[in-house]
Symmetry: C2
Subunit: 202 residues, 2 copies
């Protein structure tokens, strides 16, 4: 029972909030110790005391991003058509990516040197994947897809990741119409039942 000042999570949460806002507004380069400290009205030392180093701060943004992504995916609630639900999931992923391009970049492209993901980060990513796996499993149970639910979910998310990075990476060489078309096409190509029956034969 320490009779000492307790470290409240307020300062840590506040710094994280500021860093998230700064990332969304001005990109990854705005996550600099001096700037975050100034914007949060705190000291540079506090950041290092609370997060260890810059990679630690970004790691927390990374974690939080996956939590938010999963929450956003959960807003697409389940209907009686699991294939339609998976299409909705892809749509929700795209919405999230377009609303948070810098965050998606941190989560899936890692635009910084230091932060090397480890088992914990992998687990966070897996937790997000669970939201997809569950719906894939329902589609399998209803005979609309065939194969391993985890593998199918992984492929679906990989495609979403690739499409989203292409779309948010900045150059925007294509029209909105063709990007819409390609997201729909991806869902068509991935979610047709006969596609995954081939896997059974493998």
């Amino acid at each position: 029972m320490p009779r000492v000042k307790q470290r409240t999570p307020q300062l840590r949460d506040h710094i994280l909030e500021v860093a998230r806002t700064s990332l969304a507004a001005d990109g990854i380069e705005s996550i600099a110790a001096r700037r975050v400290a100034a914007d949060a009205g705190t000291s540079i030392a506090a950041i290092y005391e609370l997060f260890g180093d810059k990679a630690g701060l970004i790691r927390e943004i990374f974690y939080d991003g996956f939590r938010r992504l999963r929450d956003h995916l959960d807003t697409a609630d389940a209907t009686d058509d699991p294939i339609a639900d998976l299409r909705a999931l892809m749509r929700a992923f795209r919405e999230f990516a377009r609303a948070n391009p810098s965050l998606i970049s941190v989560m899936y492209a890692r635009p910084y040197d230091d932060f090397a993901p480890g088992p914990a980060e992998s687990a966070t990513g897996n937790a997000t994947r669970e939201a997809v796996t569950g719906r894939v499993r329902r589609a399998i149970e209803q005979g609309r897809l065939h194969g391993n639910a985890g593998d199918i979910a992984h492929v679906l998310l990989a495609t979403c990741q690739g499409l989203a990075l292409q779309e948010t990476a900045g150059w925007l060489g294509t029209s909105v119409a063709s990007r819409n078309r390609r997201w729909n096409l991806a869902a068509d190509m991935l979610l047709t039942a006969s596609a995954t029956t081939a896997q059974q034969r493998r």
Copy 2:
């Protein structure tokens, strides 16, 4: 008719070669002006005179990466089965990514702040995509796929990009066997004829 010293491409090519090697060996953080200059036996100023800034140097590595990727994809030569050819293309993409993880990261994840891709970079990416588009078109002509060749190629490459970034991003939370399985599953899901017929109904 200038009676002046001509700028030969030798120094530029040598610096690029050194930078590519350094990237492959030690990652993106090893691309630093002082280090590249020292490794190349040249001066820091030369880098700025030849490439403008660090982003310019990385841009050239980016360009070259797409050229090499296209060359590697071309090594998977065409047979009489265009679907098998597209599977071979995906395999070749994966081989390239696993052999050049840092380069793939520069090309598709952009692990640095400065270099913002523009129309020229987009064109380079499109050129690589052409290698895929041609084979997709052959599959369409033979009735094995249906839809817009460019869109299908884009989705195929987006999936390759997502799978490759997941695989080479470092954490490797999964076994080689499951990664093999997922690449095969992705090909199954994407390259089944009936999958893309849905697009026609759209």
